[in-house]
């Protein structure tokens, strides 16, 4: 079987769920080969987990050797692994950085790049991806016409499936990075209180104008934390300065497709829907029964979020406790 490269997302020895999803998809195409940037020690801690989800090989790279240049070293690394292993596809998580890596890699390899795949399949020897486009209104099947397909996979698209394998582990050499590059001089980890990233969270709790004030977003955060969720916001809320711009969900913000999206005090304007309507399950709380968000919601409550949300938080605590 041919190799399928998967670029692993990991933090502190923990493999991100999007990576497990990509391993599952890779297994449908061939033998998943995981590329781990982060030195030997980090890799040892996660090799086992990668094997549980089907990685037949784990290629490790010493992060220190990659240096402090932005993005470009990862692109050079993947290009060299593609050259040495000739995979039939490269899977990268559809995060902002993942998409950039994919686009640059495609230029280096003169290969087709397919963004935001929600599924992959083999059609004969061709890799075909399913993509969700135009804010989720259209489903497209597409393939690359030349080169190895570089595919970014949207988090939460499949359920990771255990497929135990015992991966061979090999360290791969770091290729030299050519030319001038932008350099990282300092890394600051967020304000965000340890919440998952918005684009890959399995649960997103979002607040809109109905939240009423910046300080009331504490309630949205509390609900989010009770579900280990990321916090999103409508543009009305971010424009009002109640929450950071980076949290804006929608056509001119972030696109999310979590297992669960809870919209609190959001009317559901078309630009907002474009960024969240492919969420698997949508719950809405809004005091206006006519709000368009209810057309999308699997479950909606017409009521005041200031009373419904605290009750929901209490109920979640109660049920988790029992």
């Amino acid at each position: 079987m041919s190799d399928v490269l998967v670029l692993v997302d990991h933090l502190d020895g923990d493999v991100g769920k999007p990576t497990l999803e990509m391993l599952t998809l890779a297994g449908r195409l061939g033998s998943p080969v995981a590329v781990v940037i982060g030195g030997d020690s980090a890799a040892t801690a996660i090799v086992e987990k990668l094997g549980q989800y089907g990685a037949t090989a784990v290629l490790t790279v010493d992060a220190d050797q990659l240096g402090s240049s932005l993005v470009a070293p990862v692109v050079s690394l993947l290009a060299s692994v593609v050259a040495s292993r000739a995979p039939i596809a490269v899977l990268i998580s559809s995060t902002t950085e993942g998409k950039e890596i994919a686009g640059r890699l495609a230029v280096r390899l003169d290969a087709g790049v397919l963004t935001d795949a929600v599924d992959v399949a083999l059609d004969g020897s061709a890799v075909v991806v399913e993509q969700s486009v135009f804010g989720g209104s259209t489903i497209v099947h597409a393939r690359a016409t030349r080169g190895v397909p570089i595919i970014t996979v949207r988090p939460n698209s499949v359920t990771p499936a255990a497929a135990p394998a015992t991966p061979e582990v090999a360290q791969v050499p770091v290729p030299p990075v050519e030319g001038r590059q932008a350099t990282v001089v300092e890394t600051t980890v967020d304000e965000g209180g340890g919440r998952p990233g918005l684009s890959e969270a399995s649960v997103v709790v979002a607040g809109g104008r109905g939240v009423g004030a910046a300080e009331n977003f504490a309630l949205i955060e509390q609900l989010a934390d009770s579900l280990s969720a990321a916090v999103g916001a409508s543009r009305a809320a971010t424009d009002a300065g109640w929450y950071p711009h980076a949290a804006q969900v929608g056509q001119t913000g972030v696109t999310v497709a979590p297992q669960l999206y809870i919209a609190c005090g959001i009317s559901g304007a078309i630009q907002h829907r474009a960024g969240m309507q492919t969420s698997k399950t949508i719950v809405a709380i809004n005091k206006d029964a006519e709000a368009p968000i209810f057309e999308l919601a699997d479950f909606g409550v017409v009521g005041d979020l200031h009373t419904v949300v605290p009750q929901l938080i209490a109920e979640i605590a109660k049920r988790k406790g029992s």
Partner: protein, 260 residues
Amino acid sequence: MKIVVTVKLVPDTTADKRIDPATKRLVRTGETVLNPFDEYAIEAALQLKEKLGAETTVTVVTMAPERGKEVVRKALAMGADDALMLSDPGCEGSDVMGTAYALAGAIAKNGFDLVVCGTQSTDAITGELPGALAEFLGVPGLTYGRKFEIDGTTLRAERETDSGFLKVTTGLPAVVSVTKSINEPRYPSFKGIMAAKTKPTTTLSLADLGIEASAVGLGAAATVVVDSAERPARGEHAVVKDEGDGGKRIADFLVSRKLL
């Protein structure tokens, strides 16, 4: 200093976007507006110009058919000095690679110290172009940037990440893309709108750039759409009125869906 801003014509954000079943391409007739993300890029360039002084110029560049003049005019009205429009039937159907290749040709011909892009376009939402452009131009790429400071030929910025931000520096020339947190784009003033009418816009063809027709357009695209369909409507749904038990009912629902 020569600053170039890439701007794109996109469908209105309220437009229904769809794929033509025959050509398998986005129906682009409804395209009317300047990509909202690019307004931040223009504003960032104008603010740099204000700081750096009069020798700094801001040129906008777009690859678009004739009606792309609309977005060019808006950029000029905001304060850009001049515009390059790559308009050629051969560009039609380009994917991100073809677009980046052609834009790189136009930008290289114009000359640049700094290229400023939006993070993404509202139709494609790939955000892949800025990085691809850096690759083709062979210069550093610094994407998702905010808080720009230029000191001689060094640019310092913060790069937003999913979990915080990085402080990054790059030498110039370079390609950067900017996030929404960088600024509040200005509205064109009446004076700006009037001035835009006399600002130079140069229209370029692929031949002007020495680009072979086989390098861009539909024929050169490295990806192809096999088929497309509208997403089926969402399944059944329930909306209930809060009778003092709204939160509890949501919890019940989450349990029924095994989400709790």
